[in-house]
């Protein structure tokens, strides 16, 4: 058996092992990966950057822990940006394990915003974030399409109380807030078909200005909505999160993860090239009637 035959019958456990080694080594070896910015991510940042103190937005955390690596950094950075700028945030989730995700974001960002920080040359003094004043967390309700439609009528239809059981009418931030009309934008971080439900029912029925952060595999599916203007921005996968972190001048786990993803991709490309070389040489030999063994 020559080298090309070996390539053709390569044991996949070697691929698993080499990928694991690349991931571990690049994780342990910190180095800078330049992040190139795309227009679709830049437009999300620009819209968030144009928000003024007292404005309100809706952040929909529609992913489970399985998409945490790709989407959590976006949620963290955008939530922190809003809190730093005194923008009011309504958190909601249409994913059954999303409540824990929002809880974690609120806990961590509340701690982070207590510290003085400078982002993009602007100094932000640390302050305490208060539930009901700076944000409200509506919680989770099943059947996303229905919940989005009901929220478009009135947040109180699907969520008479917030996640912690407080009636919405007695929450200061919700005074005078009925539905999406009072929100400057809706940002949906989604790892499933909830993203398309937001487009169909959120934007379609109520014309909400909508942007999406989705997993890498969903990215290509969302481009038609970007071009038709149904969404104003799109951040796909870890790269999208890293771009948002870079634009917000708040590097975190996404930028950190990019070096691992970059080398994992290079390894996969090398394997693809190797597989094709083996394939062509073996096929040529077969055509020429040579012995393949």
């Amino acid at each position: 058996m020559n080298i090309f035959d070996r390539i053709m019958s390569f044991d996949r456990r070697w691929i698993f092992l080499s990928l694991a080694i690349v991931c571990v080594v690049t994780f342990m070896w910190p180095f800078h990966v330049p992040i190139t910015l795309s227009n679709e991510v830049r437009s999300i940042y620009n819209r968030f950057d144009s928000l003024k103190e007292g404005d309100m937005i809706y952040l929909s955390v529609d992913y489970d822990p399985n998409a945490l690596a790709e989407l959590h950094p976006t949620t963290y950075v955008l939530a922190e940006m809003c809190f730093r700028k005194n923008v009011k945030v309504i958190f909601g989730t249409l994913s059954n394990l999303g409540q824990g995700m929002v809880d974690q974001v609120i806990d961590d960002i509340t701690d982070s915003v207590m510290l003085d920080k400078t982002y993009n040359g602007v100094f932000y003094e640390g302050r305490e974030i208060q539930n009901g004043i700076d944000y409200v967390f509506l919680g989770y309700k099943p059947y996303p399409a229905m919940v989005i439609q009901a929220m478009g009528l009135d947040f109180r239809v699907p969520f008479p109380t917030d996640y912690y059981g407080t009636p919405l009418d007695s929450i200061p931030i919700m005074k005078g807030v009925k539905n999406f009309d009072q929100c400057k934008l809706v940002m949906d971080m989604a790892a499933g078909n909830v993203a398309e439900m937001w487009i169909t029912y959120g934007h379609g029925n109520y014309n909400v200005p909508l942007a999406l952060a989705v997993t890498g595999v969903m990215g290509a599916d969302m481009y038609p909505y970007l071009n038709s203007g149904q969404i104003f921005g799109l951040a796909a996968g870890l790269l999208g999160s890293a771009q948002i972190e870079k634009l917000c001048d708040n590097p975190g786990r996404a930028i950190d993860g990019m070096r691992i993803q970059l080398f994992a991709h290079i390894l996969i490309i090398l394997f693809i090239i190797m597989g094709n070389i083996g394939f062509f040489v073996t096929r040529r030999r077969k055509k020429m009637g040579g012995d393949v063994r």
């Binding site: 694991a20 190139t36 239809v157």
Partner: protein
């Protein structure tokens, strides 16, 4: 009556929901909100049914010692422990006090999150192996797929030097032209299919949802 009543209800409520969409009036809005409430209430019964079904299937497996019955014990233990902690040791059923329960939060953060993240991360290894085997330039279409995949993977690769902007531009074209055209065709096709199916259900032509009896 057993068949006529559901058919009549589907017809009435189906058309009501279509008509209300085109009437921007507060009465129409009220009807919509009222029906939304009902839909969510009915939907909750599906959760109860799922809970009952999972418990029964798992319990039967354990009782009859079917293959891999041990996993069913883990399923049942996980299900009821999360409910136990989620309802704050079965003390608060109607409030969200349980979501602050120490054990509930720790089970979520230190068991659910790592398990789900691990399962999803394993996909990377299978994708690497699948890419090695599947991305072969066997035909013209396979070659196009291979080239598209390589361009998308390499589009933001900083080690490409002067080639990087070209790759980026090419990937933008790929996403905005061929990908967009194909995806739009699929979306429009699916949309028309959904409208046709919905009309068939509302008009009583499609009756599979009624069951066999």
């Amino acid at each position: 009556m057993k068949r006529q009543l559901p058919l009549a209800m589907v017809f009435i409520f189906g058309f009501l929901m279509i008509i209300q969409y085109f009437i921007p009036h507060e009465y129409s809005e009220w009807v919509n909100a009222f029906l939304m409430d009902w839909m969510m209430i009915i939907g909750v019964f599906a959760l109860a049914l799922g809970l009952w079904s999972l418990t029964r299937v798992s319990w039967d497996k354990v009782r009859q010692k079917k293959p891999n019955w041990g996993y069913s014990i883990v399923t049942l233990a996980g299900l009821f422990l999360m409910m136990f902690f989620g309802f704050d040791y079965f003390r608060h059923f109607s409030t969200a006090v349980g979501s602050d329960n120490y054990m509930y939060i720790h089970f979520y953060r230190h068991i659910v999150i790592p398990i789900q993240a691990t399962m999803f991360s394993l996909l990377a290894f299978f994708i690497a192996s699948a890419a090695y085997r599947a991305f072969r330039a066997r035909s013209l279409l396979a070659t196009l797929l291979l080239v598209a995949a390589l361009v998308i993977m390499l589009r933001f690769n900083p080690f490409l030097g002067p080639l990087q902007p070209i790759m980026e531009e090419f990937s933008v074209w790929l996403l905005n032209v061929p990908n967009l055209a194909a995806k739009r065709a699929i979306v429009i096709g699916v949309g028309l299919g959904m409208v046709a199916t919905a009309l068939k259900v509302i008009l009583g032509i499609e009756r599979a949802y009624l069951g066999k009896d």
